[in-house]
Each structure stands twice: as structure tokens, then as C-alpha cells.
């Protein structure tokens, strides 16, 4: 085998090995939150109250420019 063909094969091998490192997995890992393990928040019930909700919405709506 000639010196030139050996260099060509060696170069091709080096290129393949080099490009292997450029591989990027396209699989995306999705992490999902587990089930909440803490205590209950009484605020959640309060937010369900339509009257309280309406008052809160009015307050938020007051941020409009006058």
C-alpha cells in the first residue's frame, strides 16, 4: 500500500472519529413535576369565591392608564 493511500485512509478515519464527537441526540427529555406533597393552601378556596374574585379583578383592572 502506497504512502498516499495510507494517509488518505488514516485521514478518513480521523475525520470519522472527529465527527463522532459532533453528534447531538435529538431526543428531548421531559421532566414532569411530581405530586405536591405539602400542606393545603386555604387561599385556593378563597379564590373560588366569586365576590372576592370580582374585587380582586377590579383591583387588577385599576392598573390601566387614566
Amino acid at each position: 500500500m502506497s504512502r498516499q493511500s495510507m494517509l488518505t485512509i488514516f485521514g478518513a478515519l480521523a475525520l470519522v472519529v472527529g465527527l463522532t464527537g459532533c453528534y447531538e441526540s435529538s431526543d428531548v427529555t421531559f421532566f414532569e413535576a411530581g405530586k405536591y406533597q405539602g400542606g393545603d393552601d386555604p387561599l385556593l378556596q378563597k379564590l373560588e369565591d366569586p365576590e372576592f374574585r370580582a374585587g380582586l379583578d377590579r383591583r387588577f383592572d385599576g392598573q390601566r392608564d387614566r
Binding site: Q37, G38, D41, L43, Q63, D65
Partner: protein, 197 residues
């Protein structure tokens, strides 16, 4: 159902840090922790922009996804809260959060982490609203009192908006479309913007 969000109008924010102060005052935030920060781009140069940043209350919160003790929960309004009694101070949420929101007060020797502290949208935590226990752990619960978060209540220029994402977007849209539609003889641009850049 509403999705509570913050929105900071960079054209209005004047970097007064009133929101940061209001937050610290209302919640008695631990020393060394800032639940809200004002970030300024091109500080000191003409045309600099400032925005006030706190927890974004993400729809798919990465902090909640990585928490090994599952101490995070999301209210029906989309506010991301956590139970400090379950927090072990591992710091995973800090690494997961793209905004660097979770912070840990140094309470013990050798700089070991205390329980995580972050913006609660002034909605407290899993304790009786307005109770001393809630205040000591999470700070004020202004939402239960029918108020805006302290930072948005305090913002002098109304740069910082808080509330349902749709409402906040509508207010901002109205502002941004009408901002240049009137003469600026003595307006905002004259005072802070025109002729500077």
C-alpha cells in the same frame, strides 16, 4: 381561569428600585435575599433600559419539575408557590430556574443553605392567610386581602404590571400603540428619551 403574570414596561421603568424596596418591606425578606431585582442594560449610556425581574410564575415551572421533595404547587391562578416545611435546601430549583429566582438564606454555619425563598406574588404559602406563621415563612399575603403584589402596588410609573396575563397584555398593548400617538411637547420622551440617543 386567570394566569397571574408580571410584566415590566422597559420604556417606563426608571430604575428607582421602589419595587425591590416595597417587596423587602412588605415581606420582610431574609438578609441577603432579593425576591425582586432591577436589571439595567447598557447602564449609564444614553438609551439604557431597565426591567424589574422576579419569579415569572412559569406555566411549566422547571423548579417544580426538579424538586426532589415535591414542595411546589401552582394555584388555580397560575401562581407558583412552595411549602417551606418540605424544602431541604438542596438547590436543584436554583440550577433549574433560568432566571435565578430561588435563593437561599444562609442560616447556619459553613454557609449551608437554609430553606428556599422566592417571590410568592404576595400570595403567601400553605398556611392560614394573614397568620403570623404564614408571614414568618412566606411574607405578606396581599392577594388574600384583595390587593396587588406590593411591587406592582408601589410602582410609581406603573411600569410594573401584575395580574391576569390577558389583562396585563391588553394594558401593555394599549400603551405601546398609543405611546407615540400624541405630541411629546412635555411628555415622557422629552423628559427621559428624546434627544438622548
Amino acid at each position: 381561569m386567570a394566569r397571574m403574570k408580571f410584566l415590566c414596561d422597559a420604556d417606563r421603568c426608571i430604575e428607582c428600585n421602589g419595587c425591590v424596596t416595597a417587596c423587602k418591606n412588605a415581606n420582610e425578606v431574609p438578609w441577603g435575599v432579593n425576591r425582586r431585582r432591577v436589571v439595567t442594560l447598557n447602564d449609564g449610556e444614553p438609551g439604557e433600559k431597565s426591567i424589574s425581574v422576579a419569579c415569572m410564575h412559569c406555566d411549566d415551572a422547571p423548579c417544580a419539575a426538579v424538586c426532589p421533595t415535591d414542595c411546589f404547587y401552582t394555584t388555580t391562578d397560575g401562581i407558583v408557590l412552595h411549602d417551606k416545611d418540605l424544602c431541604i435546601g438542596c438547590g436543584y430549583c436554583f440550577f433549574a430556574c433560568p432566571f435565578g429566582v430561588p435563593q437561599f438564606p444562609e442560616q447556619r454555619a459553613f454557609g449551608s443553605r437554609g430553606r428556599m425563598d422566592k417571590c410568592t406574588f404576595c400570595a403567601g404559602g400553605p398556611e392560614e392567610p394573614g397568620s403570623q406563621a404564614e408571614f414568618e415563612k412566606y411574607g405578606a399575603n396581599l392577594i388574600a386581602e384583595g390587593m396587588l403584589p406590593a411591587c406592582a402596588e408601589m410602582c410609581a410609573t406603573k411600569a410594573l404590571l401584575a395580574g391576569d396575563g390577558d389583562l396585563v397584555a391588553e394594558i401593555f398593548h394599549h400603551r405601546s400603540t398609543s405611546r407615540d400617538g400624541r405630541p411629546q411637547t412635555w411628555g415622557w420622551a422629552t423628559a427621559y428619551g428624546a434627544g438622548l440617543s
